[in-house]
């Protein structure tokens, strides 16, 4: 039980890091890149791409993985939950707590997939970490952008249902 409490703390710390950086990318960096690109005579977006984005992406993708792993462990370790019960959305269990954490777990899992399969490989092309033609970079930019924006969309219900599982959701 003590390990589960430590794990839950780690899960929330890593989750704050992950989603905080997700919001940074979507609400700050994307706009900053566009403004820097449009600013003739300004320093341009290259410095963000070279010095900021790789560091932000490092913390982003690894905190995402730590969030998921500590979350999965918590589902197994905490008495009210189970991994199978959560991922089957509590069907037949009649437990709003299990259904709620399950919806959050599914959304978080899809978000982790987006980070490692859609965002990070495409960001490597955009930032020049792996070679890519201009066409490939343009496509990579669109895929990474939409995956990132989709994660913002999913983060809203994910947070609603995950905190709701612990603190209650008024369902009328």
């Amino acid at each position: 039980m003590e390990l589960a409490l430590f794990d839950r703390w780690l899960h929330i710390l890593a989750g704050v890091t992950w989603v905080g950086l997700l919001y940074y990318f979507n609400f700050v960096q994307a706009q900053a890149m566009a403004a820097a690109g449009a600013d003739e005579g300004g320093p341009g977006p290259a410095a963000i791409g070279k010095y900021v984005a790789p560091r932000a992406l490092l913390w982003f993708r690894w905190s995402a993985l730590v969030t998921w792993l500590t979350g999965a462990y918590y589902l197994m370790a905490w008495p009210a939950y189970s991994l199978g019960g959560a991922f089957s959305l509590g069907f037949g269990a009649g437990s709003l707590q299990l259904t709620s954490i399950g919806i959050g777990a599914w959304l978080g899992t899809i978000m982790l997939f987006n980070v490692w399969v859609l965002i990070w490989p495409n960001q490597k092309k955009i930032l020049g970490i792996v070679p890519a033609t201009d066409d490939e970079k343009a496509r990579a930019r669109r895929v990474a952008f939409l995956a990132s924006r989709s994660n913002v969309v999913m983060s809203l219900p994910m947070l609603f249902f995950m905190q709701g599982a612990a603190h209650g959701i008024p369902m009328g």
Partner: protein, 31 residues
């Protein structure tokens, strides 16, 4: 026009998805 191209559209989509999923959760728990 993709709503995800704007921050406002993205946040509205997130709120709409949350509301839809609340009804889904209610249906599952009631089932």
């Amino acid at each position: 026009m993709n709503p995800l191209d704007t921050v406002t559209g993205t946040l509205i989509a997130g709120v709409v998805l949350t509301v839809i999923l609340v009804f889904v959760a209610k249906a599952i728990v009631g089932a």
